[in-house]
Each structure stands twice: as C-alpha cells, then as structure tokens.
Symmetry: C2
Subunit: 236 residues, 2 copies
Amino acid sequence: MTTLRIAEIFGPTIQGEGALIGEPTLFVRAGGCDYRCVWCDSMHAVDSAYRHTWTAMKPEAVWAELRRLSGDRPVTVSLSGGNPAIQDFGPLIALGRAAGYRFACETQGSVARPWFSDLDTLVLSPKPPSSGERVDWGTFADCVEAGRGARSTVMKIVVFDGADYAWAKEAHARHPELPLYLQPGNPEVDPQTPVDSQALADRLGWLTETAMADRWFAPRILPQLHVLIWGNRRGV
Amino acid sequence: MTTLRIAEIFGPTIQGEGALIGEPTLFVRAGGCDYRCVWCDSMHAVDSAYRHTWTAMKPEAVWAELRRLSGDRPVTVSLSGGNPAIQDFGPLIALGRAAGYRFACETQGSVARPWFSDLDTLVLSPKPPSSGERVDWGTFADCVEAGRGARSTVMKIVVFDGADYAWAKEAHARHPELPLYLQPGNPEVDPQTPVDSQALADRLGWLTETAMADRWFAPRILPQLHVLIWGNRRGV
C-alpha cells in the first residue's frame, strides 16, 4: 500500500481560516508541492530541502496518530501541505470515515484526484498573480469535477494587493457555483518574528473596505485566526 | 402598518461573529430589549434611557435605507438589537426577500415570532450565567419550533468563564440538533477605550484550549472580528 510523506501532524485545535473557520480540527500536513508561491507560509512542507524532516508513514500509522491525538473522538481532519493532492490520501480517508471522522482537503487545484469525492469539504485555492504561479484553469475544472461527490467544494483566494483582488473577481466569474472565501495575504511568515496584530487587522480592514466600496458581496472575507492567536508558530 | 424602533442601520461591512462570520452584511439594530445582560455591548440599543436616540420607522423606510446602503445589490441583512424579536420584522423581511436580499436574525430566544420561518439564518443566543439573566428553555424551544421554515437555525453562546463553559455544554445537550458557536466574552465594551488585541487573542486561546483539552469538538469557536479590526466603535 501507498506510503505518505508527512511534514507534520498536530491538533486538535481550531481551523484558523476559510469555510471551516473555528472548527475543531486535526491537521495532517503533507510534504511536497508542485508550486513555489513566493509568499508561502509553509515552506517547510514545500521545499524538498526540508525533506529530511518529513516522515514516511503508512496510512495506518497516520490514522493511529489521529486517533491518539483526538482520544478516539470523531473530529474533522484537514489535509493540507504542501499540496496533498500529489499523494494518495484515499486509504487514510477510508479509515477515518469508517470511524465517523470528517475530512477536508486544501489544495491549489493543480492535480485532480478520485478521492476528492470522499471528502466532506474540498477547498480549492487557486493562487493569484502575487504568488508568482499561474493557474491552469482546465486542470482546476477537473478538480471541481473530481470533487462532485464531496459534501461541499469551495474556492479560497489569498489577496495581497489590488491586482490579486481584480484576479479574484475573474476567478469567481469562472466558477460562480463555488462559495468564495477571500483572505488577506500575510507577508510576515517567519516563525521567529512577533506578529503585528495591528497590521493583520489593517489588511483585513483594507480588503473588507475594498470589496464593500465595490459593492462586491459574493465573497466571505476572513483573516487567519491562528496567526492572530499564536503568531507564525508551527504545530498550533 | 407596524412602526419599528430602530437604534441604527449601517453597512455594508462583514459580519464579525458567529455562523455568518465574514459575510458582507447590512445591520439593522432594533431598539429595546427584554434582557439586561451585565456585559451587554449594545446598551445604546437596550436601555430605554437611550430611546430618544431611536428612530420610529415604517418597514418601507427601513427598506429604502437598506437599498440605498447596498446600491440595490442584494446582500445579507442582519436583524439584531436589543432583541429584534420584541418587534414585528415580518413586513421588512417580505420587502427584502422579494428583491433577493437574505435575512438573518440574532435573538436570545425569549420571544418566538412567526417571521422566524422567513429567515435564512436564525441565530439563537441563550445567555449564560455570567449575564445575570436566566433562560426559559420552554420559550427557547418555541423559538426553535417557530424557526423551522428558516434555511438554518444555530445556537451561539458567549463564554466568559468556566461556569459559562459548563453551562454551554448543558445547553448543547438540550439542543444537539442546532449547530453550536462559542464566542469568548468581551469585558471591554467602552467605545472610548482602545482594544487590547493581545487580551482578545488570549481569551480566544483560552476557550479553544479548554474545549480541546476536554475533547469537546461539537462547537465552532470564533472571536468577534469587528472588535479586532475596529475596536468597540459603533456603526462599523
């Protein structure tokens, strides 16, 4: 059976962002990514220079750790990364769902997987111009299609500036069927640097005021709560 | 036709708390309340000493103001207070829904109204012991029943301390069918006092860690974003 490359497993804590904000969650962060966003806040799970810190685990071993962390009480599991879609999380999802756990997956939409249909929540987060990456919208549509069996599929876009904002409107026009979540970008990703709460609040205020002045009421606009509470520390 | 007592109408801005957190929203704050929570953050809409600041408006006048603020673009309208359930918001809801606007209402669950069934989201927020109020659970159940036609009904509980936390678990046990949202209490409600972001973050951290250590995964746990962004100012 498949072996997974895992950067970290932690929780339970609350989901800090997006559609499931505030939801008690266990996090499985997959190692490895097909993107290199310039502002990536999880480079330790992306850059293969860190691969010696990743653990090769069978799905059964990941599942045993999730059961231990949750005290065997069913809870939501978030698969993130890196890009979890470059690996096969189908067997882990099958193990967890059989015990009543719910699964969410956060991926950029660059690789479609059959197991997207077994998720409770598929979060597709196409990367805006400020990332330095480019979205292949054909593959993105394949991901939406692969997730048709999921309980819900949503789109989340990080917005750093006006160009990203304009791009988010175009992305929503391509997929108006997906509930949309906007999140102000966080340029401070160094775990050693204290977070500037006022700057975080100001960026959320800017994005909110931009959309409201524009009378664009389609997206929900949310910050990263975990950064507000715990700063850029890992494992929380 | 009915006349409404309105403390303030403002927006659009994002909903700062609860099930619709991040959602672009117009706020209609009703004047008058049947409760006097000791930590009330909206006393200007509760205490009748402020009633000279409330405006008597026909539903048509409220609706005209909502259209003006939203530039005639359909958006979510939140009815709050005070306790909006002591007044008749049915005619306003009918006007707005006919134009594609969505309605949410936030009420403690002390008065049941037929128009609860016309809402998109009914938020019932029973008040915990720290409020100094006592919940009549029979009337609360009447409110749940009155809201059966709403698209969703949820429960939101403010938690100031360990006694409130224990009470929230009991409240959830009474109504496990209602999705539950917990919100850390905010003891700093003076609009003139600058907000202590670290204290807000610490209270969210405390509530999160309490529930996680307890392996209580039922509630979503969310802060008041508007306090983080705008402090305790009114009209934002």
